[in-house]
Symmetry: C2
Subunit: 316 residues, 2 copies
């Protein structure tokens, strides 16, 4: 087959690890299987598909395991942890999707591609790390690790001290062209897991890893542009993007244009830690020529792509 | 480009973790970069290339980290650890190779594909686990984990008790066809790391993970057959396969035919734990129609492929 339309589906963290459910691998597999309905239906309709995913809880667990085995097993840099989770979570999604597609009689290959994402070494975010990772520490330990490990520590609300790392802007994915080619041919590609492995290009033109994490929705928007996707579908735990969120005049957005969305952003409707980066990634994809971004719950993935549910951001 | 000849290069464990050198990720990157000379030269000559690799020390470290964080972070099944290391080690090899190729002016894309490998659920190896993994335990702990975790424990020489898992025969790789297509087009593909993620096919036709490990040379031979490779190159820590190894009449093998090799196997020249599986994988590939298998040291990779070094196994 040749894909007629291409969609990039960004699975939220809740697709694989659900708060309130014991975090075992068996449960991660169960959650993953439940998260695939929309993807399976879009595959049936012949969409070219890339699936991206978050990895926050998984990397948190990796960091904890490393902490508890210091001096006994090698310490892994953050980029390698992202690469590990791209492999492990990619496998879980890939196998679950292969089994669902087979059961539904849909003949589409699925593959997982380890993805590096290039960032700018001069990105201002690198000098100003803001992304919390890993466990909480006492003020004393925070001070100690700041000195002995070179970590940058910040206070995370009232819960304690945590390490912060940069979250620079993604510029391009490696290997975007290979993903594009596979998708055009009908292969469903799992890529850019956890936002991709952050790398910069040094003076010699070499890729070099960097201790940072990339926002997975921003990385998905970049990948969507590279493969000339029509639609970017951001799946999360709420049904719609809302303005005046949590207030009596809260309004759920359905179809909005780029310039309407820009106005809402200016008015400060979207907090930086949650809906902000999703809306920003969505607008970037539309500015880059994308036809539509949907932001919806997992269960509404297909209906949102059909403009029947969720929030859709479209060009003016 | 379209690849004229295709080779599968199986990197031994020593390509990434070297005994006697402190096991840090910086050193793993350094070792990896040093291991790529032969691959780079074959890429320059226009070979279609798949690179496979072992993951023994890395999975050992994963198991240790899991052990030391039990009750605090989820326990990961063995298949997921293989998937993780396919991601992390694939990234290390991929990036190192991309940088070397760029420096040498060789324009070939590189990508890492997470690989499942199908085994037979009825494989007799599944009922008779023999592959040691993870750390050593006291006889008391061995007994305890046998009862509480369902592990099968065996005594590893005089060094203590360890967990054993099955090492079933690989049947096919997923997604072999995608790897084949990419290689034909000139992409260097890193695949089947650690022998691939072992899965079986259940009554419904679903892939299901299984707690086992697959020998990486056997998996490489299966993948080599699937992609119609001409050459399987097994890279290890010795220069040649030898008969009468360690005896006064030791003889290093250069070019040998399949039936000569079969005779040596019958005579018991190759111990099961080390050279045995490599020789067996080599013979299987030749029986399946392969043109040549080389078994050589890393440094001789290219010369062995050119029949100038190492041991070459060829059809009669």
């Amino acid at each position: 087959m040749n894909a007629q339309k291409i969609a990039v589906i960004a699975l939220g963290g809740n697709a694989i690890t659900q708060p309130g459910i014991e975090d075992t691998i068996a449960n991660q597999f169960t959650n993953t299987r439940r998260s695939l309905d929309g993807i399976v239906e879009l595959a049936r309709e012949g969409y070219g598909l890339v699936v991206t995913h978050g990895n926050g809880p998984q990397v948190g667990n990796c960091l904890l395991r490393i902490e508890l085995s210091r001096g006994k097993a090698p310490v892994l840099p953050l980029g390698l942890l992202v690469a590990d989770t791209e492999g492990g979570m990619g496998y879980m999604i890939e196998q679950s999707l292969q089994n669902r597609l087979r059961a539904e009689g849909i003949d589409r290959p699925v593959t997982t591609i380890i993805t590096q994402v290039v960032v700018n070494r001069e990105d201002p975010a690198i000098l100003n790390p803001t992304k919390f990772i890993g466990q909480f520490y006492s003020p004393e330990d925070a001070k100690k690790y700041q000195e002995t490990r070179g970590w940058i520590m910040k206070k995370d609300a009232d819960r304690g001290w945590r390490r912060v790392v940069p979250s620079p802007m993604p510029i391009k994915t490696v290997p975007g062209e290979i993903i594009h080619q596979l998708v055009e041919q009908g292969t469903i590609v799992i890529a850019a897991g956890g936002g991709g492995i952050p790398v910069y290009i040094d003076e010699q033109g070499n890729y070099e890893g960097i201790d940072a994490v990339i926002d997975k929705d921003r990385a998905s928007a970049v990948l969507a542009r590279e493969i000339s996707a029509d639609i970017l579908s951001i799946l999360t735990s709420v049904d719609n993007v809302s303005i005046n969120f949590g207030k009596p005049n809260q309004k759920n957005l359905e179809q909005v244009t780029l310039s309407e969305m820009e106005k809402y952003v200016e008015e400060g409707h979207f907090p930086p830690g949650s809906m902000g980066p999703k809306v920003e990634a969505a607008m970037q994809f539309i500015r880059d020529g994308g036809r539509m971004v949907t932001i919806s719950s997992l269960k509404d993935a297909q209906r949102a792509v059909h403009s029947q549910s969720g929030t859709r951001i479209v060009p003016d």
